[in-house]
Amino acid sequence: MLRRLDWLTVFLYLLLVFFGWINIYSTTLTEASTSIFDFSTLYGKQLFFIGASFVLIIIVLSLETSFFERFSSVFYIVSVVSLAGLFVFGKTIAGATSWYDLGFFNLQPSEFAKLATALAVAKYLSDIQTDIRKPKHQLYAILIILIPVLLILPQPDPGSALIYFSLFFVLLREGLPLKYLGFALLLVLLFITTLKFGVVWVCIGLGILTSLFFFFKREKFKIPRIPLVLFLIACLSISLSVNFVFNNVFEQRHRDRFGLWLSLEKDPVKLEKIKKTIGYNTYQSEKAIESGGFFGKGFLEGTRTKGDFVPAQHTDYIFSSVGEEWGFIGTSFIIIIFTIFFLRLVHIAERQKRDFSRMYGYGMIAILVIHYFVNVGMVIGLLPTIGIPLPFFSYGGSGLLFFTAMLFVFLRFDANRLKEL
């Protein structure tokens, strides 16, 4: 079986884990540190977690593939129950009731629930009786995804909830019409443009787009007038309701983050204040990356990294120290490695003979990609601040173990793909 393991993926995985650790070492090194195996230090602990991951890999690879498929419903139900149980037994850390206190460590069920939901979606869709083109089945599939989301949102942990939406890619891959994606994108676009430019400009923009559309396309397509008008009205009402939602549903910290991201604040004095308060992380992280330049300051030479200027720089903001110490060479290298890694995984998913394996693969890839997208996007100032880690890179034992397990479950399926026909 080891011969059929996709070694290229394993190699890329090891590369990411290695670079991740190098940067954790740099960000958490102190004058007093001596050995890299000193488990009182964070980099020492991470080294321990990496070792634990390797043990986990062996366990995962030695399990039967059918184990995961057979028990996926059980996993899912256990996850949902444990998420619901948080409302009663949950432990609050940093404002979010997302943990169970198990004494020796804190367990975050939403991490495990990601894997379980990915398996459950795959299980449901691969069922011979499921036809994703039927609205009823679409509804069921969406419910499988939404139930954990609805349980996680009130914790509140919007970052984790966001991850689950990536599982829609599985549905899209398996036949959910693309217009759903189109509508979702349109909704996001309307939301952002309305916030940024206001209702009036969005109306004007819509008007211009519609008339352009009629002007150029009328000859080729028959556009039914009435649905188009309804569509426009829908767009306008969404646009009109954006401000209400923004001001009444969102909390102040979310409004601040969006405000900063879309640079809604024009007053330079207030802007300066925002930079020092809620925008502090983003500002420091951008500055740290910027100061790296093309070549970077060199390993262990990052002044801002050493001075601990970027908060959470060994966890969520680890990429900023890559930017400072390794420069553009380092950051673009990591981006390229991630891109190749993901493309390779998509390729592997596509070569699966069994529907379940492919669907699970897609779910797992989507989860990894959205972590990577949101995390790096946040660190380099493209997206608002949402605290989720960079897979394989950020410091943290449960994250690393979870991502590793997800990945190697998939590689286990892949290694088995020829047998199972």
Binding site: L178, G323, S332, V346, Y362, I380
Partner: protein
């Protein structure tokens, strides 16, 4: 489409990220980041500012330690405020106010609590300082003046401001920089180069060790010692004579162009602009818009030169060949321009070059001036020729001294009159006043002194300068060792110098002779006007005197300009005579003359135009 959807998104994300990263790391990246990096603190080590000595090696400017009491508010504990306030010599209210201000600035960073403690206070405080946590004494270096004179030459230093910081990246906020005089001109030599230590900080601004193990740190480079050309004794003596008078004096060593003394009256003690009272004193001086003590008259005032200018016209006429020493003009107690008569004090009669100069005959020089023009077909050409001669003496343009200020004076040219009267709407009669140094010509005292030095040298001069040695080496800028030749041949100087010597022997300055020293000089009495309530009103004439001595081997050439001092032979002539004696003999034999000059003031004269009442000018008695 479905199969490539996720792959396309992955690629698009990758491209977007690399785009954003290249924007951040390639385009926004600024290479000068070590100073902008909040994680690196630069700690500077300031070298002592260079000392300044006079031409004989006497110390003029040194440094004195000053002690600032600093506070880091966060580190302070409850203290015995009463005792501490007594030690600092401030009252409790002030102490509380100052502490509040320091806290407002920063609780972590040091602020100055009490600046520049006196030495005795420092000694008493030093013993008890350990009792006050969070307070410490920081030593600073301030200028220490060994003379109370030459403020205009020495200049002062003060903290850099925003525009200095923008203009020169060397300076950091709070550092000192030369503002005027040699402190400004030789700022880079005097200040040396500060050393720097880079220290790595964490986000709480705590030191966590040297940056790159001190690889980029530098040691301070000491400021250089400057010897300047001033003669301390002469400068101090001159300033004593100038008390109660306004004006400027410049004395030059003709053989080298070294400035021996440079006095502006009224002046102030340079020590006023040092220490705790600096800012109050500066404001007082700066806003005295009547006496204007900060306005260096020796180099910035531009009066008409008056009669001393006649010597140059005589030289120009000799050079042009339009007169010789025996050419005579008749003086009718004045001369005629068209039908109007202009006056002359010389007593009238037939005048040649010699008596024209020593009696300062206006008619003689009007005639001479006309002859220069007469030589050429058009007034324009004559004007150009005349102007070339005048400018070769360093008039009409910036002299290029090593003082950071200066004025060009004025030698009017064709373009000037065209502007004033309209193109070609003027004739030689418009410019005849220039013959006697009135009218449009203007020169600063230092230009007059330089012109006198050129005559003393019989035809050449060295650009006046204040720098003599840098760190004991006489390697100064070649601009100040380069010989400037005037357009006048050497032979033409003898009759003019002879006539100037006769000014002392029998002329306008015959009462100012110094025993055993032959002096050549020329008086000037310059009409001047002001505006009171929009009306042009004549004021008492300026008293001007130029002289050099000894005649045959000149050691000193000087120009004295006293505002509203009336006859050239009065204030200016007296002061010039005393300064020459002081410089050449080292002592004053004519104590009556000295006493008179030390006691007399012109304050009553300066008060006249401000009194708002009618007043008389050019009073006979003095």
């Amino acid at each position: 489409m479905k199969k490539i959807l996720l792959s396309s998104i992955i690629v698009i994300i990758g491209v977007t990220f690399i785009g954003r990263l290249s924007y951040l790391q390639l385009f926004s990246f600024s290479p000068n980041q070590i100073l902008e990096d909040p994680a690196i603190k630069a700690v500077y080590d300031y070298p002592e500012r260079g000392y300044v000595y006079d031409r004989d090696g006497e110390l003029l400017v040194g440094n004195q330690p000053a002690y600032d009491v600093m506070v880091i508010p966060r580190e302070t504990k409850t203290i015995d405020t009463v005792e501490f306030c007594n030690l600092l010599r401030i009252d409790k209210k002030e102490f509380i106010k100052k502490m509040k201000r320091a806290k407002r600035y920063s609780t972590r960073l040091p602020s100055v609590l009490v600046p520049q403690l006196a030495k005795e206070d420092y000694a008493r405080l030093q013993e008890k300082m350990r009792k006050y946590r969070g307070f410490y004494i920081q030593k600073r270096s301030l200028r220490d003046y060994m003379t109370n004179s030459a403020a205009n030459v020495l200049g002062y230093i003060s903290e850099v401001n925003e525009s200095d910081l923008r203009a020169n990246p060397y300076y950091r906020a709070g550092e000192l920089k030369g503002r005027t005089g040699i402190e400004k001109q030789y700022e880079e030599l005097l200040r040396g180069r500060k050393g720097v230590k880079y220290i790595q900080k964490d986000r709480f601004n705590r030191d966590i060790g040297p940056y790159k193990n001190g690889k980029l740190d530098t040691l301070p480079k000491l400021g250089k010692e400057l010897h300047i050309t001033l003669d301390k004794t002469l400068q101090e003596y001159g300033e004593r004579l100038m008390v109660g008078k306004r004006g400027g004096i410049v004395a030059i060593e003709p053989a080298t162009g070294e400035i021996l003394t440079m006095i502006s009256g009224p002046t102030y003690d340079p020590a006023l602009l040092v220490g705790r009272e600096r800012s109050r004193n500066y404001t007082k001086l700066h806003y005295d818009s009547i006496a204007r003590p900060t306005w260096d008259r020796s180099i910035l005032a531009e009066p008409s030169p008056g009669s001393p200018f006649k010597t140059l016209n005589a030289l120009a006429a000799l050079q042009e060949g339009v007169i010789d020493a025996d050419t005579k003009f008749r003086c009718y107690n004045g001369f005629y321009v068209g039908k109007t008569k202009r006056g002359c004090h010389c007593g009238g009669g037939s005048r040649d070059l010699n008596s024209g100069i020593f009696n300062s005959c206006n008619a003689y020089f009007a005639g001479t001036f006309r002859k220069i023009y007469g030589k050429y077909k058009t007034t324009d050409e004559g004007m150009d020729a005349w102007e070339r001669h005048m400018e070769s003496f360093g008039l009409g343009n910036y002299l290029g001294t090593d003082m950071p200020t200066g004025r060009p004076g004025r030698i009017p040219d064709k373009a000037y009159y065209d502007r004033a009267y309209g193109d070609n709407r003027w004739a030689s009669s418009f410019i005849i006043s220039n013959a006697i140094g009135q009218g449009e010509v203007a020169a600063t005292p230092i230009q007059l002194a330089n012109m006198t030095a050129a005559i003393a040298n019989r035809g050449h001069f060295y650009t006046p300068h204040i720098i003599k040695q840098i760190d004991g080496k006489a390697s100064i800028d070649s601009r100040y060792t380069e010989r400037h030749q005037t357009t006048i041949d050497k032979k033409h100087f003898e009759p003019v110098v002879e006539a100037m010597a006769n000014v002392y022997r029998y002329g306008t300055a015959k009462w100012l002779k110094i025993p055993d020293i032959e002096i050549a000089g020329k008086t000037g009495t310059v009409e001047n006007f002001t505006r009171i309530d929009g009306e042009r009103i004549q004021l008492t004439d300026h008293s001007i005197f130029v002289a050099f001595a000894p005649v045959d081997n000149p050691k000193i050439a000087l120009a004295v300009y006293i505002e509203h001092g009336y006859y050239g032979a009065r204030y200016a002539g007296h002061i010039a005579s005393l300064l020459i004696e002081k410089y050449l003999k080292g002592e004053i034999t004519r104590t009556d003359l000295e006493k008179k000059m030390l006691e007399k003031t012109l304050e009553h004269e300066y008060a006249k135009p401000l009194s708002g009442e009618p007043f008389s000018i050019n009073e006979y008695n003095w």
